[in-house]
Symmetry: C2
């Protein structure tokens, strides 16, 4: 899959960039256009546009048709990141100061709002027919609404000291799975295969959570481009490991773990992070998370079994890539 992603980025990376630059020129209102590009240029894997292109390609559709929507998916993802970094208090994104740290919270909120409407414009200004555009708006709006609900649940969970796996799974389905699924759904719609949308959503509701769990794990192993290991612990996130560990550890350990999680992030020490990580290891919570991600990916293979062969093979590869990635 890595090779596939790289092949698409080699072939289409510049075209994605061009679509984005057409929608948001690099030069424009100071503290707006330059702020968008400060953030966009920080990198990111461009997984979402690639996924839209790969879906379209696997269904035999001219990939040029999907480009504006693919660029829209990347913009949508980055709009959410810009706002999430403020909401979560994350200072570093992709090893650079987060947009709000460089431009201030006020510009950060406004820049995100600007990007969100540019997603609408990208779809609207494409050469797709009216029915297709409206179908894409429907899927995009529903996705963003679900994502906002999931983000609320995530914040609501932070205060809790007995988070359940059921609540956690519901939260990541809303917060992560929907908008990882959107590029595939849109790709199928543009390829004229709306009949595949329900199955693609079933697939997404398996691999999306697997992706989030892999992300939870990365925070403690490779870091997430935030200049540190354990940034989720500082934030007090109820990750799958927290949920699992709190159901296994002693009441004393649970008390200390939540005290650390609920500290203001600037007061969390390296020792605190070490303590929580050791607790996860003691109770096998990291292994539990790895297993959970793997079994979700296994389940996802059942949802692709009835799909056209090329799409099936691409999606199965993608599912494995999601949990094997190192960043």
């Amino acid at each position: 899959m890595i090779e596939e992603v790289e092949r698409i980025l080699r072939m289409k990376g510049k075209a994605i960039e061009k679509e984005l630059e057409k929608a948001i020129p690099r030069k424009g209102t100071p503290n707006l256009n330059d702020a968008v590009w400060y953030h966009m240029d920080s990198g990111g894997k461009r997984v979402r546009p690639v996924l839209a292109i790969l879906t379209c390609e696997a269904l035999g559709c001219d990939t040029n048709k999907v480009m504006p929507f693919a660029a829209g998916c990347e913009l949508l993802h980055n709009w959410l990141l810009v706002h999430d970094d403020i909401e979560d208090g994350d200072h570093v994104r992709r090893d650079k100061p987060a947009l709000w740290v460089k431009y201030g919270i006020s510009h950060g909120i406004n820049v995100g709002d600007f990007m969100s409407l540019k997603v609408v414009e990208l779809i609207l200004n494409s050469s797709l027919d009216d029915k297709t555009k409206l179908a894409l708006f429907g899927e995009t709006a529903e996705t963003c609404v679900k994502t906002a609900e999931g983000q609320t649940m995530d914040m609501n969970l932070r205060g809790q000291r007995n988070p359940s796996e059921k609540d956690y799974m519901k939260m990541i389905e809303l917060k992560t799975a929907w908008y990882l699924t959107l590029p595939m759904v849109g790709g199928a719609i543009i390829a004229g295969r709306t009949d595949l949308v329900p199955k693609i959503k079933e697939f997404g509701m398996k691999v999306g959570p697997a992706f989030q769990i892999a992300d939870d794990l990365l925070d403690l192993t490779e870091g997430k481009g935030r200049g540190e290991i354990g940034s989720d612990i500082k934030e007090g996130k109820r990750s799958i490991m927290v949920v699992h560990c709190s159901s296994k550890c002693s009441s004393g350990e649970r008390k200390r773990m939540f005290e650390i999680l609920d500290k203001p992030r600037e007061k969390t020490t390296k020792e605190d992070i070490g303590y929580v990580k050791a607790l996860f290891e003691k109770y096998g919570s990291l292994d539990y998370a790895r297993q959970k991600a793997r079994s979700l990916v296994d389940e996802s293979a059942q949802t692709t079994s009835s799909m056209p062969a090329e799409l099936r093979s691409m999606l199965d590869d993608f599912a494995r890539y999601l949990i094997e990635r190192k960043k």
Copy 2:
């Protein structure tokens, strides 16, 4: 016009509310649905939905057709207010704690994002035909993009000590006029009169700035539901009075005025506000602002002269109402 607005609110107020409740049920995810309604229930003049309905009615169109879009305009306005209050550091909105004060900044940002996508859903789920929906999306997206550009310009101007009237007028055209114009534009599109859109926009580019200038003035006379007089001075806003006064006063007075404007808002005293207000009076800046608003409204009458009689009469009334209102 007040009577017209009240007549529409009597007839259609509940229907607007119902559309909003259909889009965002009062009960739902805690800290999301309840937060939206905490804000929406704080009141507001509901000028925008009324304006969409009045435009539609004046053009002889069944007003039921415009209701989802009208509700969308109200939601859009309130999404922007929720985010603006964070961006501007305003603690009070409509005499109640601002949403972000009650729910925190993180929820405040996320709730606004949620509301923005509900605007898309309201249009999408209406019974309008595809062409009309897409035209509404186009106008809505363009409006929001312009508004974000205007908000950036407003923030950029705050640091400046020689703001020009040209920059101020450009800023309020982008920040205020576009999204006051949208309900009228949408109303005309829904009534099948897209031919009127360019003239309605010309009208809006006159009355929108008049509305903002009236708003600048209200901040120093009646207050703006923010629990105090002079909240714009605390924020350091470059209002039309600041722009005018700084071009007339002595260099010593200018220095002191900008020192006050650029103080952190919690350090601005009542005496500071009194000083700036007295300076405005000394140099006739309040009168200048009143005159400017009036002449913009006079100019707006030229843009309506070729419109259908009923629409013309409604818009001319509306223009006068905007600068005569007391809140």
